[in-house]
């Protein structure tokens, strides 16, 4: 009796990589320039409902009108939600694996009603709570390139820890 030869299953490996160059446009362009040049966080503000928008966008999705007014927000605020990620995954912008654990948080910046999402410097679940305050830590002059990552991370301010 001869054994039937099993069909060999062939797999083709391929890396799809397409270099892209993203325009920033007038709205995000302004936001990123302010971070890079002046270490300032700005949002734009709907003329109709008054909401501040982070990231700033050309229209208010609620009111369907163009948004042209800008406000400066403080580089500090309150944590409204956060995620501590323990599982490493690929960063599609770099093709490299993310370092874990890392904490991403949603921060309601003083001066408006919009939240900014960024990294927190704390990865111990016991040391973070919704409601805590934190502050932006900018990269030094010369190292900022006009990106949200010009803020290295947000530092949790410890005065709220015991609440």
């Amino acid at each position: 009796m001869t054994e039937e030869k099993k069909q060999e299953l062939v797999e083709i490996q391929e890396l799809v990589s397409v270099p892209n160059s993203f325009a920033t446009g007038p709205v995000m362009g302004r936001f990123l320039s302010e971070i890079r040049d002046n270490k300032r966080i700005v949002a734009n503000k709907c003329p109709k409902c008054g909401r501040t928008q982070l990231p700033p966008r050309i229209v208010c999705a609620v009111c369907h009108v163009q948004v042209d007014d800008w406000v400066e927000l403080q580089p500090r605020g309150e944590i409204t939600s956060y995620d501590m990620i323990f599982i490493p995954t690929l960063n599609p912008l770099t093709g490299k694996m993310r370092e874990v654990p890392y904490t991403s948080a949603s921060i309601l910046l003083d001066g408006g009603d919009a939240t900014l999402t960024h990294f927190l410097d704390v990865t111990d679940p016991k040391k973070v709570k919704v409601g805590m305050r934190c502050e932006a830590v900018f990269r030094p002059d010369g190292e900022r390139t006009g990106s949200v990552m010009d803020i290295a991370y947000f530092q949790v301010l410890n005065e709220e820890v015991n609440k």
Binding site: I12, E14, V18, N20, S21, F22, V27, I58, A61, H64
Partner: protein
């Protein structure tokens, strides 16, 4: 009483090689704002109640590329669906949504930037299956070149005939303020332009382009109140051809023939060459100008070259083709057909300015998606 479906507003950005000064959002906002201003419409009950967007994750380099457009098209607690094919399909789908009773007024908004990726050919290369076709290094450009070669050889097409189509389009584009390429060219310039992908020369290939188009589709009752000259959708049809190039007769566009037949049937057109006043063809390459005329049944196989050189398809001819300048004057891949629809609407409203076809009553727009025009969409419009 049965209602027709009308287009009540259209807007196009000026098409440019690279719109580096805008993100997709700002580019699309330009045209969305425009059509809203034309009609006085906002979003919600009694207003625009539905949206179809056209874009593609690859060109946007963004999974769920329509997510970024939601803000602009009333999708915040509202509906939006993305048609990820040539934008004319989006117009057809929107018409179906209105015909179904699901919507009274739908906005169709498409955007595409060919400039964002290092090369649009890297993107279209990915449309080929990784098992076989991709290994051979195919992309839409060299696929078009392959089809051009088959078509030219089969019908002994002369280079002058191909160039004539380009010259015609470029001459018309010079009269269209939205066109990207606005300089006329001569037959010699076309024939002597740099060889890019044999047999296609530089001037025979549509240029890299960025832009956005928006339209508003509505029921007859609403359309008549929203503008004084709505353009009616008489018929539409689309069709897929086989995928592998070897499974197709590349000298013929079977899927365009069927798409056209379906559209003509719906629009009750028996003799397209006589009944249509103008054609807007989504030809990205010189040979497509000929091949598509044959696919639409305007002329018999292999006869398009002579038809074009006779002047019949010129702006003043018996059947003007691409009075707008067409895709050869610049439209990104995803928007070729949608821009054609916009141009048809302008023509039928008498708003085409210097490139107006006089007395136009019925117009045809064609769009194509996929390798060597695997999928075609045809729509027929009228102002009667």
């Amino acid at each position: 009483m049965a209602e027709r479906i009308g287009i009540v507003a259209v807007a196009q950005t000026k098409f440019e090689k690279k719109k580096g000064h805008q993100r997709f959002q700002e580019m699309l906002w330009e045209v969305v704002k425009n059509v809203r201003e034309q009609t006085g419409l906002s979003f919600g009950k009694g207003q625009i109640d539905n949206a179809v967007t056209c874009s593609d994750d690859f060109f946007d380099c963004r999974t769920i590329s329509d997510a970024a457009m939601g803000d602009l098209v009333g999708a915040h607690y509202g509906p939006e669906e993305k048609n990820a094919q040539d934008g004319l399909q989006g117009v057809f789908y929107a018409a179906a949504q209105v015909a179904s009773g699901h919507s009274e007024i739908t906005i169709v908004a498409g955007h595409c930037k060919e400039s964002q990726a290092a090369s649009r050919n890297m993107i279209t290369h990915c449309a080929f299956d990784p098992i076989f076709s991709r290994q051979v290094g195919l992309d839409y450009l060299n696929t078009a070149a392959l089809q051009a070669r088959v078509y030219i050889d089969r019908f002994k097409v002369k280079p002058e005939q191909l160039a004539a189509a380009v010259v015609r389009d470029r001459r018309n584009g010079a009269l269209n303020p939205k066109a990207q390429l606005r300089q006329a060219v001569t037959i010699n310039q076309v024939l002597n332009s740099k060889m890019v992908c044999d047999p296609l020369r530089e001037l025979e290939i549509y240029p890299q382009s960025d832009g956005a188009v928006a339209l508003i589709v509505a029921t007859e009752t609403r359309a008549k109140k929203l503008c004084k000259n709505p353009v009616w959708i008489l018929g539409a049809g689309n069709c897929y051809d086989a995928y592998y190039l070897g499974d197709r007769n590349l000298a013929q566009s079977k899927s365009l023939e069927l798409a056209a037949k379906r559209a003509y049937k719906m629009a009750r057109i028996k003799n397209p060459a006589k009944e249509l006043d103008l054609l807007e063809l989504c030809a990205g390459y010189s040979y497509e100008e000929l091949l598509f005329l044959e696919g639409l049944g305007i002329v018999g196989p292999g006869k398009a070259g002579a038809f074009i050189t006779s002047g019949a398809t010129d702006l003043g001819g018996e059947l003007p083709v691409n009075a707008s300048g067409g895709k050869l004057c610049g439209n990104p891949l995803m928007l070729g057909g949608m821009a054609r629809a916009a141009e048809c609407v302008l023509q039928l409203r008498g708003e085409a300015g210097e490139h107006q076809v006089k007395g136009a009553k019925k117009a045809l727009a064609q769009g194509t998606t996929g390798p060597a025009g695997q999928h075609h969409c045809v729509m027929i419009f009228s102002n009667q």
